[in-house]
Amino acid sequence: MTAETRILRLHVNGSDVDVAAPSHWTLLEVVRYRLGLTGTKQGCDKGDCGACTLLVDGRARLSCITLAGDAVGHRVTTIEGLVTKDGLDLLQRTFDEAGALQCGFCQPGMIVAARACLDAKPEATRAEVKEALASNLCRCTGYTKIFEAVEQAVRAGRAAHTNGPASLVGDSAALAGGRR
């Protein structure tokens, strides 16, 4: 059958957008190739690797096996959406600081999955972090520095909680200053 193209009203990174896309397109295809939000990656295109992870209503979701139409009416957040006018998400900074980023290809998916994990469990233990990231494959790091990055964010989040927003950056304070 021939493709049926529809206008989808999506809510992506805080704004409504209308996109024309064939009904059989996945959310990944729409996000990358219609909206130009290429931060979300594709590594297997069938649910096996986690590179395409983004957030739908704050929960991690594999966009390569999500039909775009299914996202209508829900909040979609991509890696780009974690950057706000206040700067980068804490996890984006700790991933950098901890040296978790090698080729970086798994990282957008990894970071948003970690974001969903910490939003649900701000005090996640290493074991919980491992559980939460177990749909996301990384071929470069052996995960060690990824776990460290999330733990660093947990500590920084805790410091922010006890000391107020001024210390939000916690032990990643150096980052805020050193960024170019």
């Binding site: 493709a3 990358r32 190739y33 130009g36 939000l37 290429t38 931060g39 979300t40 990656k41 590594g43 297997c44 295109d45 069938k46 649910g47 096996d48 690797c49 590179a51 991509t78 890696i79 780009e80 974690l82 950057v83 980068l88 984006q92 900074r93 991933f95 950098d96 600081e97 040296g99 980023l101 090698q102 080729c103 970086g104 290809f105 798994c106 990282q107 957008p108 970071i111 972090v129 491992k130 559980e131 990231l133 177990a134 749909s135 996301n136 494959l137 990384c138 071929r139 470069c140 790091t141 052996g142 995960y143 060690t144 520095k145 990824i146 776990f147 980052l175 050193g178 960024r179 170019r180």
Partner: protein, 818 residues
């Protein structure tokens, strides 16, 4: 031979270090290191964390078409006819190309060019590219593939390398001089037979290493544009832009100056992007034919067909030892399954022998390696190219011999340590060597002495060591030009831009380059910008393989930056009327060492230099000295410096199921100076991870029809966050006299010992010797059962007579020591 003492009959290893050449020694340019050695962030990491970083598939051009490749469904067949008319007639299809239009054979190694962009007359494995289409979208391109008619005459396929070696009636590459043999190397050093005959202990076993894949999370992707100026621009996920550039020119018959190759951010490679690939030629050809930009993005399955993964090897190893634990000789015979094409196979064949002569002093050595073609996806270079497989065999044999000699495995390795500044039996010059410290580190970190033998049932510790090259002397195409180049431009704002040919494939080479230039010019890391891997902008670099980048490009960067440093110091010194030695450059300033108050910003210092001299810029380059044994192939594997690794693994064998858990892997790596310890640790952890995956989980194979059995990331199981051991990385800095500030490689070496360390730990845990990778639970369990039977047969005494060697395990003399 004891550490550091040179035998009279071996060449003076320091000869080169003393001779004038473009290396700068381990010293900092100023009083101390300001940038080098710090745990700095990577220069390009922030963009990767935010999604800004552009990888090849993130690029789109106006009017861009999408390409798809038609692949052979047969493992071995002759193409009788291809008819593309119907595909061409499909609305939305703008171009179709077949092998006839690009018949020129290519390959990185000039002597073994046997690939074409698309099959010309034959297909040699299931997945071999046959035709390609460019259309308005991927769906249309996909539909067009179904309209291409191909008539095949089926030929007998060969999947078993032993059969491919034996059969003369089936030839995979007609015209190949030696049937299905792609390369055969037999080299002998010293007197292996005599030494083995005189050894107190000899072990001789068969080992098997299976095929494994790189599985970078980014698949292959290429985008080509043919401009109205006649310039072809190719953006490609490649780790060797220079070779792609050369081969594009040859295959497309375009003048090389009309081609520009750019490598955007790369989503992992591990050696798998070291060949030119079909899609690069097809994208280019179709862009020229259609006058529209064309992008090819391989699916994961296609990535498994493009392959170039680790070569399966069948290895017979015979190793001897004296009573006091000295290695006497190694004699190896290796059959290498090359798959359908040569790729880097010539080098693989040499590396399977040449890289085994350290860190243990090996006085007598023979290797006989034969690589054959089979009708399977082609193998190529994968992290630890060529030497991971024989290293597994050798290190397991060392443990077997240690057991026979009644010695601790770490002690045996210590006794055989070849030392620094020596020459190996095959004529390789070894400079700095911190392997003994690596051993000491993993021994201490793992609690080896206190814990070994006391972990309880099914648990054990094992160790192994290895060496690897930091680049190779062997230049794949013969020329006298530098192997690496750097160009620096200085802006009046104080920003320094470094043009580097090197491919940052995630390992952090851009950060290494920036670190060095910042160090030399007294800048902060953020004042240096690196432009890399663009053939129009950057000097030639040979690519990210053989762990050559830090060493070679690093030296080129020092070379370039130091020229500028001199000019800046001189200009500032003149301005102040002091001697140039008094001018220090650090932290974004130039200051007077004796009168600290006298200081100008780097930008101001650059202004002074530009005013005094001319527009500021510098080039730098590096070439290896003449290295290697004086025999055919003697330069292959000859490296200006070697890295060394020691590893201890802890295992926990489930005696009920044969499943093995690995709670910890301790890896200590001698990388010379760690220019950025975070990057080095990342390489060590990532290497150990990859080795771990190969031991238990990963297997790239074809089924009885020649179809790749696990062409996706669900079936080709790479370890998840929950499977991995805790990786404990530590660094030994044996400063190398020729490395940049003493640095050596870190990206591939640390993978090697992981595999035998785990094998040895399994033996320590439960008394079985596993010899055939991967160690599936089925094999482990079969070996455990065979051992139990043997133990029972010998009256329950441990260490009794040989049991059956089932499941890829050796029975026999291993016995339990507790």
């Amino acid at each position: 031979m004891s550490a550091g003492k040179l035998p009279a009959d071996r060449a003076d290893p320091l000869q080169h270090a003393r001779s004038p050449n473009r290396t700068f020694g381990p010293q900092p340019p100023g009083a101390q290191f300001e940038v080098v050695g710090k745990r700095s962030r990577k220069v390009d990491a922030a963009g990767k964390a935010t999604g800004e970083a552009r990888y090849t598939d993130d690029l789109a051009l106006p009017g861009m078409l999408h390409g798809k490749t038609l692949r052979s469904p047969h493992p071995h067949a002759r193409i009788k006819r291809i008819d593309t008319a119907k595909a061409e007639a499909l609305p939305g299809v703008l171009g179709v190309v077949t092998g006839a239009e690009m018949p020129v054979r290519f390959g990185v190694i000039p002597w073994t060019q046997d690939e074409t962009a698309l099959a010309v007359d034959k297909v040699r494995f299931i997945g071999d590219p046959v035709a390609a289409v460019a259309a308005v979208d991927e769906e249309t391109a996909q539909a067009a593939l179904r309209l291409i008619e191909v008539d095949y005459e089926l030929l007998t396929p060969l999947f078993d390398p032993a059969e491919a070696l034996a059969r003369k009636d089936v030839v995979i590459h007609e015209g190949n001089k030696h049937g299905n043999v792609t390369k055969e190397v037999l080299l002998e050093f010293g007197d292996p037979d005599g030494a083995l005959a005189r050894s107190d202990f000899v072990v001789e076993d068969d080992y098997e290493f299976h095929g494994t894949a790189h599985a970078p999370i980014e698949t292959h992707v290429a985008l080509a544009r043919y401009g109205s100026d006649g310039v072809l621009t190719l953006w490609s996920a490649t780790q060797i832009p220079h070779y792609v550039h050369r081969e594009l020119a040859r295959v497309l018959d375009l003048p090389a100056p009309q081609i520009r190759v750019i490598q955007p951010h790369l989503g992992g490679a591990f050696g798998g992007k070291s060949d030119p690939f079909s899609l690069e030629f097809c994208a280019a050809k179709l862009a020229i034919k259609t006058r529209r930009p064309v992008k090819f993005l391989y699916t994961r399955e296609e990535e498994f067909y493009a392959h170039r993964g680790r070569h399966p090897m069948q290895m017979r190893f015979k190793t001897g030892m004296t009573k006091d634990g000295r290695l006497t000789a190694v004699d190896s015979k290796i059959l290498i399954d090359g798959g359908a094409y040569s790729s880097f196979g010539l080098v693989t064949t040499y590396y399977s022998g040449q890289l085994l002569t350290g860190p243990h002093d090996l006085p007598n050595y023979r290797f006989h390696s034969t690589r054959v073609f089979t009708n399977k996806p082609p193998c190529g270079p994968k992290r630890g190219h060529g030497s991971v497989q024989p290293r597994f065999a050798l290190e397991v044999q060392l443990d077997r011999l240690a057991e026979k000699a009644g010695l601790d495995p770490i002690e045996v390795r210590r006794r055989n340590f070849q030392g620094a500044y020596t020459t190996t039996v095959n004529g390789q010059r070894v400079t700095s060597n911190g392997f003994d410290q690596c051993l000491a580190q993993v021994e201490a970190a793992s609690g080896w002495k206190a814990r070994r033998g006391k972990l309880g049932r099914g648990k054990g510790l094992g160790c192994a060591g290895s060496m690897y090259i930091s680049g190779t002397n062997y230049c794949v195409y013969p020329n006298d030009m530098p192997q690496a180049g750097i160009q620096i431009k200085v802006d009046r704002s104080g920003l320094v831009t470094v043009f580097s040919g090197a491919s940052d494939i995630g390992q952090g080479s851009n950060t290494v380059v920036a670190t060095i230039v910042a160090e030399e010019l007294g800048l902060r890391l953020e004042d240096v910008r690196v432009v890399a891997a663009d053939s129009d902008l950057c000097p030639v670099d040979l690519g990210a393989y053989s762990s050559r980048i830090t060493f070679m490009v690093g030296n080129a960067a020092i070379h370039a930056a130091r020229k500028l440093r001199k000019l800046v110091q001189q200009a500032v010194a003149e301005e102040w009327g002091v001697a140039p030695e008094r001018v220090a450059l650090a932290g974004g300033f130039a200051f007077d060492l004796e009168e600290r108050a006298r200081v100008v910003s780097s930008a101001k210092a650059f202004h002074l230099a530009e005013a005094k001299f001319e527009t500021l810029g510098a080039t730098g380059s590096y070439n290896t000295p003449n290295l290697g044994g004086d025999y055919r192939g003697g330069t292959i594997g000859a490296s200006p410096a070697y890295s060394f690794t020691a590893c201890v693994a802890e295992v926990d064998v489930d005696l009920e199921t044969g499943e093995v858990r690995v709670p910890h892997v301790w890896t200590s790596h001698d990388c010379g100076r760690a220019l950025n310890p975070v990057l080095v640790e990342g390489q060590i952890e990532g290497s150990a991870y990859m080795g771990f995956g190969e031991v238990f989980l990963e297997s790239h194979a074809v089924n009885q029809y020649g179809l790749t059995t696990r062409p996706n990331l669900l079936d080709y199981t790479i370890p998840t966050a929950l499977d991995c051991p805790e990786f404990h990385a530590s660094i030994v800095e044996s400063l190398d006299p020729e490395g940049p500030y003493g640095a050596k490689e870190a990206g591939e070496g640390p993978l090697h010992p992981t595999i035998p360390a785990i094998a040895n730990a399994i033996h320590d845990a439960c008394g079985i010797w596993l010899t055939k990778l991967p160690f599936t639970p089925a094999k482990v369990l079969a070996a455990l059962q065979a051992k139990a039977k043997a133990d029972a047969a010998s009256g329950g005494t441990r260490g009794g007579a040989s049991g059956g060697a089932s499941g890829g395990a050796l029975g026999g003399d291993q016995g339990g020591k507790r």
